[in-house]
């Protein structure tokens, strides 16, 4: 494949960022919006072309001669910074199943969000939001960074773009920079993920120190032709030998590879908001809603999942690291689902739901073993990433439409909106059905595969995850009923009744809803697998349906329906069940409502311990001890000078006296010595 299109895919958003960032304020708002959207549209088209070429052209750089194994192709790879002849940061474009999939996901969602923001970033009177051009510039910056991240050919390139997405997320969360809560949320997001990135960086250092390379293809694949690689266990075994033969293969009872992988996973935990580094994501909802849809639901937050998937063959060599992934993922999934049941702010419910769903993907990767169904978990994780991006972006954009119409984030101000906003209502319902896992919507297929994979790994985790799936259905429908049903909407005096938004906002909803309906039928098993081998021999529209394990599928469907029914009973009409439940489990409800007091804990650690017990004493020490020593030296010198100043009186006769006495003393001493 010629590198022209891939280069444009990366360069166009960057150019858009620079252009809108530098000259945006000279453009009209409408012009900036159109430019940004058009730029993203072109990028999306090119990304589609690239992805379709990769999956369906059958070119020998993308699929092997038997047409059963998908290959990795390095389209271009420029040296950017050479530390040593081996350790070189390159900026390149790696095309393989997961990067092609992510190209589609990112550009689709990004385009929808660009389009949607044209409507969202104006108020009801058509007045544009202040800094509208800046908003589009930042969106372009984010798209550029995210695309660069997924096509990275080496782990350091990934780290570079990893930092860049962090920074663009910081800028976008803090878009309303005059609002203190947005400023502190953006700060929190950056610092928490930065802390995780420290783990990532250390992991890279350890890994590169022992393997002598940054390249993903060196970690996981063998080269079959020039610039074309096949994922294989043999090279990975070669790396294992390399690590085994180096001088420090073990560190504190675990191999350095485990350490490196766990450290790298910490980086992924930060970006993907896994427990205990999840606290930034709910606060990140301070940003404009389209941003939440793009960054904090569909793309950036799955970077951690993508990272694990990218290094998956390495993780496979250290099952201990994968077990950690499973435990972290499972705990996070349950935690986030429980918290989501109690939140008032609809964006926060969706944020916790995102955390929970990402945890599903993590679990799915963690439970993958090649011997079980050709490693179905990997495929399921990626599948869920894809479907979740679509329906969660849909849900967020619906939430944005609601917030735009109502002017508040809390469902207590909404209630009974189904008549006022029919399109939003239907699309939101489709999103809820998809996330709850109702056949035939997208979420059903991907979640079902995840549960299948989990069952192959451990029954305990299977039951655990099924429970979380049930909770998911419950809290999503709780939200749905509380927004659209519960009781009649009160229209305030002087306010227009809420209504559906302009076409720029509803069109993305409809498109995403349509995708959510059909995305489940994409034969992902033939497109994305951990080693590139296709799972099915021949493919048609019903492949996924016919490949279902009905034992698991029936079970998960049943659980989802139970969840929905419970939610229907409790929330469809105004009643006292919710209050009863709250009173029945007051302690649990409190903990969930306060998100298990994680924020307070972090507040305590940062303010009381880091600032109070480290920074302040160090600053004090610096001013008083270190600087005090210097000042004390100056002080002593000055005092000493004052003390002997009297001797320099200028009185010549006194000098002569001193001279005489000195001469006599000297004579005396000499005399004594001579005797």
């Amino acid at each position: 494949m010629q590198p022209v299109i891939p280069i444009i895919i990366l360069a166009l958003p960057l150019a858009m960022f620079l252009f809108l960032g530098l000259c945006g304020h000279k453009l009209s708002h409408r012009m900036a919006g159109i430019l940004g959207t058009a730029g993203m549209g072109v990028t999306m088209t090119l990304a589609y072309i690239t992805a379709f070429t990769y999956f369906f052209s059958g070119s020998p750089e993308f699929i092997d001669a038997d047409a059963h194994t998908r290959l990795q192709a390095v389209i271009f790879n420029y040296d950017w910074l050479a530390f040593t002849p081996q350790l070189v940061i390159r900026l390149g474009f790696l095309l393989d199943p997961i990067s092609a999939l992510l190209l589609v996901v990112i550009t689709t969602i990004s385009f929808m969000v660009h389009l949607y923001s044209n409507g969202y970033m104006r108020d009801h009177h058509g007045v544009w939001e202040k800094g509208f051009q800046r908003f589009y510039a930042f969106l372009s910056l984010f798209s550029f960074s995210m695309l660069g991240l997924v096509v990275a050919t080496n782990i350091f390139q990934m780290y570079i773009f990893w930092e860049l997405v962090g920074a663009s997320s910081y800028l976008l969360i803090g878009f309303y920079y005059t609002k203190p809560s947005a400023v502190s949320a953006s700060k929190k997001a950056f610092i928490v993920t930065r802390f995780a990135d420290l783990g990532f960086l250390l992991g890279i250092l350890v890994l590169s120190f022992y393997t002598g390379t940054f390249n993903f293809t060196d970690f996981t694949s063998t080269e079959v032709a020039d610039g074309v690689y096949q994922i294989s266990e043999t090279t990975s075994a070669g790396i294992r030998d390399l690590i085994a033969n180096s001088t420090v293969p073990m560190f504190m009872g675990a191999s350095v590879l485990t350490w490196a992988l766990v450290l790298i996973f910490i980086g992924g935990m930060g970006k993907s908001a896994m427990l205990p580094l999840h606290i930034w994501l709910p606060d990140a909802m301070e940003g404009p809603t389209p941003v939440s849809a793009l960054i904090h639901a569909a793309t950036m937050v799955v970077a951690g999942v993508y990272l694990v998937a990218r290094l998956f063959p390495l993780y496979l060599m250290e099952p201990a690291a994968l077990d950690i992934v499973v435990v972290v993922g499972a705990l996070t999934a349950l935690y986030a689902a429980m918290v989501a049941c109690t939140q008032l702010d609809i964006k926060r419910v969706l944020a916790f739901s995102t955390i929970s769903q990402i945890a599903f993907m993590m679990v799915s990767l963690g439970v993958t073993r090649p011997e079980f169904h050709h490693g179905v978990g990997y495929m399921a994780g990626m599948f869920h990433l894809f479907t979740h991006a679509m329906f969660k972006a849909l849900l967020f954009l619906c939430a944005g439409a609601l917030i735009h119409a109502i002017g508040s984030n809390n469902y207590t101000d909404m209630h009974g909106l189904r008549k006022y906003m029919p399109i939003t209502h239907i699309t939101f319902l489709i999103g809820c059905l998809a996330i709850a896992g109702i056949i035939p919507f997208a979420g059903f297929f991907s979640k079902d595969e995840i549960l299948t994979a989990t069952m192959g790994y451990s029954t305990v985790w299977y039951i655990w995850m099924s429970l979380v799936a049930g909770l998911t259905a419950f809290y999503m429908f709780r939200l749905y009923y509380l927004i659209f049903w519960w009781k009649e909407h009160k229209v305030h005096e002087g306010h227009p009744a809420p209504h559906d938004q302009p076409w720029t906002m509803t069109l993305p909803l409809v498109i995403l809803a349509a995708i959510s309906c059909v995305a489940g039928f994409v034969p992902m098993g033939n497109l994305v697998t951990w080693n590139g081998h296709e799972m099915f021999d021949n493919v048609n529209f019903f492949t996924n349906l016919s490949a279902l394990n009905w034992q698991v599928a029936g079970m998960s469907l049943a659980i989802a329906i139970v969840g929905i029914l419970v939610a229907t009973v409790m929330y469809r009409k105004e009643n006292r069940y919710p209050q009863m439940m709250k009173q029945a489990l007051p302690r649990l409800w409190d903990w969930c409502f306060h998100r298990f007091y994680w924020d307070e804990l972090y507040q305590f650690i940062t303010h009381k311990i880091i600032f109070g017990c480290i920074s302040k004493p160090i600053a004090w020490f610096d001013r008083n001890v270190v600087d005090g020593t210097m000042n004390a030296m100056a002080f002593v010198t000055q005092r000493l000078s004052f003390a002997i100043r009297g001797l320099q009186s200028g009185n010549v006769q006194f000098y002569v006296w001193m001279y005489l006495i000195g001469a006599l003393l000297l004579g005396l001493i000499t005399a004594i010595c001579l005797i």
Partner: protein, 500 residues
Amino acid sequence: MFSNVLIYFVIIPLLMLGGFFLCRDIKQIRAVAVVGSTALLALSIWLLVDYLGLRAAGATAPMLYCDSWTWFAPLHINLAVGVDGISIAMLILSSIIVFAGSFASWKIDDARHFFMWLLLLSTGVFGFFISIDLFTMFMFYEVALIPMYLLIGVWGTGRKEYSAMKLTLMLMGGSAFLMLSLIGIYYHSAADSSQLTWNILEIAANGAITTEWQYFLFPMCFVGFGVLGAMFPFHTWSPDGHACAPTAVSMLHAGVLMKLGGYGCFRVAMYLMPQAANDLAWIFLILTGISVVYGAFSACVQTDLKYINAYSSVSHCGMVLFAILMINTTAMTGAIMQMLSHGLMTALFFALIGMIYGRTHTRDIRLMGGLMQIMPFLGVGYVIAGMASLGLPGLSGFVAEMTIFVGSFEHADMFHRVFTIVACSSIVITAVYILRVVGKLLFGPVQDEHHRSLTDATWWERLSTITLIVSVAAIGCFPNFFESLIKFTFSPELFHAIGM
């Protein structure tokens, strides 16, 4: 003598100094400052191009444009000049900052004398970077230090006399150590006492300093330069000095003068006494490792903008010395990159702080807020500087820090790697204090209603800021160019001398 291009780096500032005498009004003074600093910038860029041309044509000598003129024959003192990639990087850094600094001090009081002292300081800086004779190097070093006293004492703010005195005395204390060790090096520069020399290249070639003497001289030399490089615990001049200095002086001081320390440590201490450097590095690694983390933590709780930046400089400059002590190509390249990067971004910081201070008349972040709404240009500049400081890819800080971390981690010794991990943790703390300042200063609601009437940057301030931002971004986007410029210096023969 005038056929050597390097000497013009000293002659141009001196000519400018003379030019200021003849100026009659502020316009002429500005004209001289702008023309002179532009000439310096042009000269350094020409030198870079010519140097790369010579290297491409196959010049392999460690130093190019070498020349030597006898100054005082009985003691073998010469004015010897010569540059390699590192010196050229430093010369470019200095000329960029002098250029930006001239614009940043557009409205200074008593401009004639201010610029005269500033240019004397620059003379010292440029002279230091082109010298390869220890004695003239030391002389230029002192020339660069002394004007600082007057610049801070006369044009400064706050407790300026105290700070000026403290800064000068502490740096002079460092020079005393330095002088001792330089004389020591001179007397052991050659096996035959009639062949004694001050020339760095010859001393390195002779390799006549015995290990015992190295153990004695290396710590003195490293501490002597380390004081200027703000090494813990000799850094306390830096916060007070920076806080009280006028804008252009802070820029030059943090941007260039502190680099004299790192450059000296590398060029003299490490290069001439490799054995001791190798054996005693651990002591200084501990000290510089402390600097890195300690400076960052201290910066977290400061409330004065300049103090925050000064402590951040302690942390970043600590990183320079830290990497130099790792004694391997990658880490040392990283150290030089960090010097460049820190020089530019800290100059940018101080320029912006000066501009903000000039408007609000306070540097206390508790009294300011929401400045982004009022002065968007300065605000955006500050955010970019902050992002460079916390190591955002695409800006210079990332490249330098990553080179240092990767290089340091390559060290085979466990001790060094543990310290690398400690140093790595500073990237988180840096993010904390940078975002804290950005959040309090620029974002949020406007704190003081009087600030609403303030204006955004003027054209000369914009020019100064943009020059620095472009330089920071250039290093961040095209690191390979700078890396190869620097790395050539670490050619195998030369590197052999540093004990690798």
